[in-house]
């Protein structure tokens, strides 16, 4: 069975993430996700955020799902991730590992409205003029800026699109 690290905020898209895990299992892919019982593998000597980074570095495929929320900030022991969210730290670790090993794969998926708002914001002359009706978490912007450096990302409208795109992309490569 192929393996993949699933990186996403959980409480705001719980059922969607659970459905994605099922979809991946259906594709024969084992998803490593922090809500799984075996994620910590009995480890008590490591901060949970660092366990995430450790697994991202070990597992050759990385799937990122970005919706409206940025999630919690990294509180582990690696100072290079200070000030980043956990999801962003995981992405940085996956990106670094992929640069070293071309066989690794990144699968970034971003909710279309989030991506569009971010891109509009990037083009603003005065970025402090952030309209109040733009409802995305601004703590997402550093991660989204980093995603810009990738040659491609996929955007999705609904969780239905997301699952279909994952089946197509991940199912093809893994």
């Amino acid at each position: 069975m192929k393996e993949l690290f699933l990186s996403a905020t959980y409480t705001d898209q719980k059922d969607c993430i659970e459905e994605v895990k099922s979809k991946l299992a259906e594709l024969g892919v084992r998803a490593w996700h922090f809500k799984e019982g075996e994620f910590y593998n009995g480890r008590i000597d490591i901060h949970s955020h660092d366990r995430c980074i450790e697994l991202v570095e070990q597992i050759p495929n990385y799937l990122l799902i970005v919706s409206y929320r940025a999630g919690a900030f990294y509180e582990g022991g690696d100072k290079s991730y200070n000030g980043l969210t956990v999801t962003h730290s995981e992405f940085k670790a996956a990106f670094k590992a992929t640069k070293k090993d071309q066989n690794r794969r990144l699968y970034p998926f971003v909710r279309k409205e989030v991506w569009n708002i971010f891109n509009t914001w990037k083009d603003l002359v005065n970025r402090q003029e952030y309209p109040e009706n733009w409802e995305i978490d601004r703590n997402l912007f550093p991660l989204l800026s980093d995603l810009k450096s990738l040659s491609w990302i996929d955007t999705f409208d609904t969780s239905l699109d997301l699952k279909e795109m994952i089946a197509k992309k991940v199912g093809y490569f893994v």
Binding site: E19, A25, E36, Y68, D157
Partner: protein, 251 residues
């Protein structure tokens, strides 16, 4: 609130429908949108309760109402919002003896067809599943005896008995129900075992007059429901014999 109006109205309808199935009066006082979350403030048992729905699911539901009514995708979103309401209120004891098992056996969504997944159940859930399997075995054996007495076909029951026995043997040998690559049919039977335990707990709860014991039983019901709303169970369809078990349990 204009944005996502149809999705919010849909949830309003679910609350009204739920109001007809429970003893406490539930009224929706208002809906507010605060930082990516829709907050439904309800009045129930003379207390205010807030149920939160994330923007992503409400956005998806709004699109699904327009484009995907009658599909499994729509059913899945509908199920998500319904169970958010049931669990939020039910675990506080505010739904009284509301039968969540009925909702579980009638749940609709896109079910996984073929699937292998690693399972790792905690001690408490393992005990629930094992006891549930033993109970199902006893129920299926009684049903088989009746079929034999009436001289009617019983292949399906015999097959289900074999499957339940193999899971019980697996536990007896390994003292757990974990597996690297559990198959869909095993998960269907394990899900049925958990639902069977909910039937039993609901029955005890409905006969219980002591508030402390009632609360503990109610809490156990919703702890199991929460497990069933996660991987590996969420997208696994219950086996059809659950309706037989349900019929027996409900007399």
């Amino acid at each position: 609130m204009e944005k996502n109006k149809r999705a919010l109205d849909h949830i309003r309808g679910l609350v009204e429908k739920l109001n007809k199935s429970v003893q406490n009066d539930i009224t929706l006082e208002d809906i507010a949108y605060v930082s990516f979350t829709y907050r439904f403030r309800l009045k129930i048992a003379n207390e205010s309760q807030v149920i939160l729905f994330e923007r992503s699911i409400i956005d998806d539901l709004e699109v699904a109402i327009d484009k995907y009514q009658g599909t499994e995708y729509f059913a899945g979103l509908d199920s998500s919002v319904k169970f958010t309401i049931y669990i939020s209120l039910g675990q506080l004891g505010l739904l009284g003896n509301f039968s969540i098992s009925e909702e579980l056996i009638n749940d609709k969504r896109q079910w996984i067809k073929a699937y292998r997944i690693d399972t790792n159940f905690n001690e408490e859930m393992t005990a629930v599943l094992y006891e549930g399997l033993k109970d199902i075995l006893s129920s299926l054996n009684s049903q088989l005896e009746e079929h034999k007495r009436m001289k009617i076909e019983s292949n399906e029951i015999e097959e289900n008995i074999k499957w339940v026995e193999s899971l019980i043997k697996y536990y007896d040998k390994n003292k757990h129900l974990n597996s690297a690559g559990a198959e869909i049919k095993n998960l269907q039977f394990l899900k049925a075992a958990a639902v069977n335990q909910i039937f039993g707990l609901e029955k005890l709860r409905s006969q219980e007059n002591r508030p402390t014991t009632w609360r503990a039983l109610n809490s156990k019901v919703y702890d199991i429901v929460k497990e069933l709303r996660k991987s590996p169970f969420l997208d696994v369809q219950l086996p059809s014999f659950i309706y037989d078990i349900s019929a027996v349990r409900r007399g």
